[in-house]
Assembly symmetry: C2
Homo-oligomer: 480 residues x 2
């Protein structure tokens, strides 16, 4: 039964909140502490949860206790666990508990950024926090950052900025309906799906996106890029932007940024670099050669909400010249005008959304709590774990690591000599099913050259060598 005391005010009272929030904190601390005891995967079926949830909203108060009951009885059974030490799926989507605390403060305070004046600390802490991250990554001070929700949005914004630069800001007036030579975007066949999606949303159209050929290492072939831009120019089209990837989703391949910058140098083509997951590796000086050439880009995106540990969502877009954003994104209604507009950053003009959460607090909390060296040590732990697993696999045929794995993601297949083609595909998906059926690891199947393989993405916050060793045992058991 709901506690009637909490309904004496028109909204949840601070003292009731205090009582309930202490319960929530204990729930979360217990959940995180005991995660390893749960299966990482689950066996929910489509519509199962939906059928348990009442079709009609309650007319009368049920109290937050009802939500806690929902959570234990209905929601958890339909949630695999992204913060689990045996999470090797997709990519690490880490929410370090220091970042979680920062986000609690943001939500509890409930300040909204519309203008600098609407919440000065929100703008200025964001300014400083993204600059801290820039310094940690060894990027030059030519870059200015802003927090977006995801890399999909960051890449969309980069393409909009590119569109404006190529057209000398004509696209904000005539739009993409300029009736002149069509603008073309270049990316690789291994780029993230969000690049094509961003190009479609920004009005380029699928016909004006080139998926440039990749080399044997799945990296963009800069000579092929040069040929594609030349062909488009010859056909009367205008090369507008290249989206290169530093660490592709499927195999963490790195496009050759210097060669790409060289290939487009003679034309005024915007270079955007998608480092979404892999960007965290910039914190490690010894890994920076992978990103050589990044300083020649016009924009880049990295996602601290992945490997680095800032609770989703926190994607940082860095640009060299914010005026390309501001000139198309700027809105200036009278109710948002302030005396300070010419002296402050107005982040609404750096992205799509007008309102901003105080997301900088979670990034700030992570960095301040741990400091650079501790974050570096964790990333190095994950790279060492990936190297260890790679060695085990490479010394145990017919297991294979399929492509170079410069970071913490391995592309793995078990290839008995008698299996090829569809048979091999069936074998791969079958052993993966057996792994998942144990509930003791979660991996992601993906296609490489049209054939299934399994991605092992190492780097959950709590994943130690013992968990990787247990995974390796599990994989071998699954093919026996």
């Amino acid at each position: 039964m709901p506690d009637s005391a909490q309904f004496s005010s028109p909204s949840l009272d601070p003292e009731e909140f205090r009582r309930l929030a202490h319960r929530v904190v204990d729930w979360i601390a217990d959940y995180r502490r005991d995660l390893a005891k749960r299966p990482v995967t689950n066996d929910a079926h489509p519509g199962e949860l939906l059928a348990q949830l009442p079709a009609d909203p309650p007319r009368h108060p049920e109290g937050f206790e009802a939500v806690l009951r929902d959570l234990d009885e209905r929601l958890l059974p339909a949630l695999p666990h992204w913060q689990h030490p045996s999470f090797f799926a997709y990519f690490p989507s880490n929410g370090d508990l220091a970042a979680v605390l920062g986000d609690f403060l943001s939500t509890g305070i409930g300040a909204l950024g519309l203008t600098w004046q609407s919440a000065p600390a929100l703008t200025e802490l964001e300014d400083r926090a993204v600059d801290w991250l820039r310094r940690m990554c060894g990027l030059s001070d030519d870059w200015q950052g802003v927090i977006q929700d995801t890399a999909s949005t960051s890449t969309l914004i980069a393409l909009v900025a590119a569109r404006e630069r190529t057209t000398a800001h004509g696209a904000i007036t005539a739009g993409m309906q300029h009736g002149e030579a069509p603008l073309v975007v270049y990316t690789s066949a291994e780029a993230h799906s969000s690049v094509l999606k961003a190009a479609m949303i920004a009005g380029f159209g699928r016909d004006h996106v080139r998926q440039v050929r990749v080399d044997a290492h799945r990296a963009m072939d800069a000579e092929a890029l040069r040929a594609e831009t030349a062909a488009d120019l010859a056909a009367g089209r205008r090369p507008c932007a290249v989206v290169a990837t530093a660490g592709t989703t499927t195999t963490t391949a790195f496009d050759p940024l210097t060669a790409i910058a060289d290939a487009v140098a003679e034309h005024d083509i915007w270079l955007h670099v998608d480092t979404a997951m892999a960007g965290s590796a910039l914190l490690l000086p010894e890994m920076r050669t992978l990103f050589t050439g990044i300083e020649r880009a016009d924009s880049l995106v990295m996602n601290p909400h992945k490997w680095l540990g800032v609770s989703f969502d926190c994607s940082v877009l860095y640009v060299r010249d914010d005026q390309h954003l501001v000139r198309v994104m700027r809105t200036d209604p009278s109710y948002l005008r302030t005396d300070f507009d010419d002296r402050v950053k107005t982040y609404r003009d750096w992205g799509i959304a007008l309102g901003r959460r105080f997301r900088a607090l979670k990034l700030w909390s992570l960095i301040r709590t741990h400091g650079t060296e501790r974050l570096q040590a964790r990333l190095r732990r994950d790279l060492a774990n990936a190297r260890w697993l790679r060695q085990q696999i490479e010394s145990t045929p017919p297991w294979r690591v399929l492509v170079p794995s410069p970071l913490q993601t391995l592309c793995v297949r078990h290839e008995p000599p008698d299996l090829t083609g569809d048979e091999l595909d069936r074998h791969t998906l079958a052993w993966l099913d057996r792994v998942h059926a144990t509930g003791r690891a979660w991996l992601t199947p993906a296609q490489l050259d049209g054939r299934w393989m399994v991605r092992v993405s190492i780097g959950a916050l709590t994943t130690e060598r013992e968990h990787v060793a247990a995974l390796w045992q599990l994989l071998r058991a699954a093919v026996r």
Copy 2:
């Protein structure tokens, strides 16, 4: 000094989190309880906070205690208080503490929605929560909802969908660079700035956005709309979408949705309705006549993160036919394919971002904790407070309420008979400055017909009649 115990593991340990999170909870409960004792505004100066924050990130751990010190000593002095009972600025951006609890759970669990399978509960609870909201608003069951970050994004998505319908999905191939008759978007001169911005991002271009004339009540003139579409057709352009507003930002004017739907009925024009703030009034059956005609729209957006009380960000986009979204937004890389794709909702195809927070939890928490009737009672309290203030002002010349105020926002001016034009503007901004200097209320100046007035937006969670009465006293004192 940081507590070294918290650094025994590579990330913040659950037991350290427990200890610190209880402190954070108490901090937030105290902050919310004591808010009324603080000035609602602040007098931060640009760059002041930034200068206090170290330029370099820490190398060594400083512990989360350092963040709590930042908060008290540096951040709070640079934060006005959006949850304050004397917050009358912009629009209510309420974070009911029940929603705050739901968001804590979301952040603490750290599940990520990419596919249904990646977090089944995240998709299915969102499905049910937005359907609850639909029922609470009296909308027909033709609508399907999805949570976005803001109305800016929701409107952008609606325009992309409109673009595809008008071109029979040609815009995903040729893009807006189709070389055919340009597509045109219609909205009113009083529409939110995000409409023009969305049209620019989606590639329509400013030249292809018509700001249709408004009538004396600041509502779109449907006859003028009819004339504009006819003129565009005659000139060889293609009317594509109308964005109508139910509750404009400046004056909460309501565009006549039925007349607008009639005006565009003979053409295949997408009707999107922006109800961002005002949409919460749909919870009140007695207010629904303001929205008459909304069922004829193709899409609509409302923001539970405003007046209703769901912590930012939670904007709900409702569409009649999700296929218009899915056909342009769908991405299907192999690593996101699952066995369930044809039987479940795949919300990544309903918007721009790929990854999703478990935002449904905060909407769910608000509704389940309070129930419909309690939420209705709070909204009615705010409307009654606005009516009361209106009566005070109207009976106290030369104070004036300038335009109809069907909801909780009043547009106010003090108009001494001897003041007009620039002099009146100076008077308005001067008394508003005097109000703000007291720190006892926060209001927003805006322009109406090129002259300044002051918006009083009532509806913070903790704003009771006494706070509105105190505001009225403050206003009168400021002109004496």
